[in-house]
């Protein structure tokens, strides 16, 4: 059976991202999953446990400081070399900024078919993509090697314990791929909330939240539900919350089990980032706010009354 290369994505806290486990689950439909870890020395061993548990028959470890110290190009170079050696049936990556960028370079190097933001893969290689603000579903396929980026929360990761045999691969990087040097990595994220695109629950605030201080209310509810915090563009532009938490057309696309939109009107560009959530709940004082058109459950009321009461009620129930 041909190998399917799955590029592993790590979390800030040193684990494997859920989207990688989803990709391993999808990869089994196309062949035998083999994980690829690209990073600083030590990265592969740290990720090996979950990768093997979710089906990685092999774990290709390409580790060097040069890979970690430069933007994207070294990863694509190492991956292209590996693909040349093992002739995979497909290459799967996570559909974030970096995953797409590696995929793009790889597709050019290998003259392959690039399929981004994929939410499902069939055994014959046909993929499903949700496009245009979640309004349209497309099926597509690659002619030649498929390079596929998988969108978070597309499938439930299923364990399938495999050998996870470690195979060290050549991690040397050409000078040409070392053009963009990473001088510094700065963490701005507060707290230990799940990452926005991976979270099962997302609690988002909009302009209605009215100030940066008031976002504490959104954070409090998110923490009680074990969720991530999101924001509308109006909230971000007003300086209430940092840009990396923006949900929508020009922000992140999320697809959690539960999405709460609080003080958000539901503009089409906001919907673009949350429309495929499983359950949508809205709190808005305007009963004509478009967000209610797609909410499974809506409270028409003042968020400054509804949210504190909900917080208190959850606390009471959780004891």
């Amino acid at each position: 059976m041909a190998e399917v290369l799955v590029v592993a994505d790590g979390t800030a806290s040193g684990g494997v991202k859920k989207v990688t486990l989803e990709a391993l689950t999808l990869a089994r439909r196309l062949g035998e999953p083999a994980a690829v870890v690209l990073g600083a020395p030590g990265t592969a061993d740290a990720l090996a446990g979950p990768l093997a548990e979710y089906g990685a028959v092999k774990i290709y470890a390409a580790e060097s400081d040069e890979i970690a110290g430069h933007l994207v190009a070294p990863k694509a170079e190492v991956l292209a070399r590996l693909a040349g050696e093992v002739s995979p049936a497909a290459v799967l990556l996570a559909s974030g900024q970096e995953g797409k960028e590696i995929a793009g370079r790889l597709a050019v190097k290998l003259d392959a078919g690039l399929l981004t933001d994929v939410s499902d893969i069939a055994a014959d290689g046909t993929v499903t993509q949700v496009v245009f603000a979640g309004s349209t579903i497309v099926t597509a396929k690659a002619n030649g090697l498929p390079v596929i980026t998988v969108r978070s929360n597309s499938v439930t990761p299923e364990p399938a314990p495999a050998a996870g045999e470690r195979v060290s691969v050549d991690a040397t990087v050409s000078d040409a791929a070392k053009g963009a040097r990473v001088l510094e990595r700065v963490a701005e994220q507060k707290g230990s909330r799940p990452e926005l695109t991976e979270a099962g629950v997302v609690v988002s605030g909009g302009r209605g939240v009215a100030s940066a201080e008031n976002f504490a209310l959104i954070e409090e509810l998110a923490d009680l539900l074990g969720g991530a915090v999101g924001a509308s563009r109006a909230a971000v532009d007003s300086g209430f919350y940092p840009h990396q938490f923006q949900v929508g057309q020009t922000g992140k696309t999320v697809s959690p089990q539960l999405y709460l939109a609080i003080g958000i009107s539901g503009a089409i560009q906001h919907r673009a980032g949350m429309q495929t959530s499983k359950t949508i709940v809205a709190i808005n004082k305007d009963d004509e706010a478009p967000i209610f058109e797609l909410a499974d459950y809506g409270i028409v009321g003042d968020l400054f009354k509804v949210v504190p009461q909900a917080v208190e009620e959850i606390r009471k129930r959780q004891g």
């Binding site: 800030a12 933007l71 994207v72 190009a73 974030g96 900024q97 797409k100 960028e101 995929a103 793009g104 370079r105 597709a107 003259d111 078919g113 690039l114 981004t116 496009v131 245009f132 979640g134 309004s135 349209t136 497309v138 099926t139 597509a140 690659a142 002619n143 030649g144 053009g179 963009a180 040097r181 990473v182 001088l183 510094e184 990595r185 700065v186 963490a187 994220q189 539900l225 840009h243 990396q244 539960l258 503009a267 560009q269 709940v281 709190i283 209610f292 058109e293 909410a295 459950y297 809506g298 409270i299 028409v300 009321g301 003042d302 009354k305 509804v306 009461q309 909900a310 208190e312 129930r317």
Partner: protein
């Protein structure tokens, strides 16, 4: 410092967008078409750099005839001229092919820096800047929320999920920007009038030395098989808050097993 800014014309993301049922490409004829929003930020950034340090800004667009409107709009912000690659054979190209056309066009121009949007609102593939850099063999600094050009050194703050990375390159580079980088200017009346007279050079695939059978939907490495509207979400229960809204909400969350 000569800068080429990549500008794509896209269907307005605020209006309904559809795919054509014959070849599943974007129905651009019936859409209201605009400059891809992120590209306006790239234009603004290019103008700020050349205003401070000298040099020219050239717009580069690959797209059908009607993309001319967007090119004139881009020029009205202040760039010096534009190059429009237009050829029927390009229709339906995927990202790999589009990047080959853009790279070939860049090879006909004199530039120090290429600026692009981080993402186009229609395809949202977010890969074109890296693909071009790959083809041209220059570094790519992508996803910038801040760009500093100091002599031969270009430094960005690259936005990440956790915060940001400081990334640096020397010499020719491709830089892509998010909307956090600046606030684009509105074209002035003078700018709009001036744009009408600015040079727009039209290039075909033959001019670029790109073979027609290297591009276009029929030769793409990806094929869209079908597209269909996603069933619209149904609106569910809507409850007015009569003092118990928070409790009612938690009751709903409990039934759905979130609490």
């Amino acid at each position: 410092m000569n800068i080429v800014v990549l500008v794509k014309q896209v269907p307005d993301s605020g209006a309904e967008r559809t795919l054509k049922s014959d070849d599943w490409t974007v129905d651009r004829a019936s859409a209201s078409n605009v400059i891809n929003e992120m590209d306006e930020y790239a234009i603004e950034e290019a103008l700020r750099i050349t205003e401070a340090q000298g040099g020219e800004v050239t717009i580069l667009t690959v797209g059908p005839d009607r993309a001319t409107e967007s090119i004139r709009k881009a020029l009205s912000m202040g760039p010096n001229g534009a190059v429009h690659v237009v050829d029927d054979a390009i229709a339906g190209s995927d990202a790999v092919q589009t990047s080959a056309v853009i790279a070939a066009a860049l090879n006909t121009l004199e530039w120090d820096l290429v600026l692009a949007g981080a993402e186009a609102t229609d395809g949202r593939v977010q890969v074109v800047p890296h693909m071009i850099a790959e083809r041209l063999g220059v570094p790519a600094l992508t996803g910038a929320r801040k760009l500093t050009v100091d002599g031969d050194t270009r430094t960005i703050e690259r936005q990440t999920d956790e915060g940001y990375e400081v990334v640096q390159a020397t010499g020719k580079a491709v830089v892509s920007v998010w909307d956090t980088i600046n606030e684009p200017r509105y074209p002035s009346f003078k700018g709009i009038m001036a744009a009408k007279k600015k040079p727009v050079k039209s290039l075909s695939l033959a001019d670029l030395g790109v073979a027609a059978d290297a591009v276009g939907g029929a030769n793409a490495r990806t094929t869209v098989l079908a597209g269909q509207p996603r069933p619209p979400r149904q609106s569910g229960t809507r409850v007015p808050d009569e003092g118990e809204g928070g409790v009612r909400l938690v009751e709903f969350l409990a039934v759905e097993k979130f609490v």
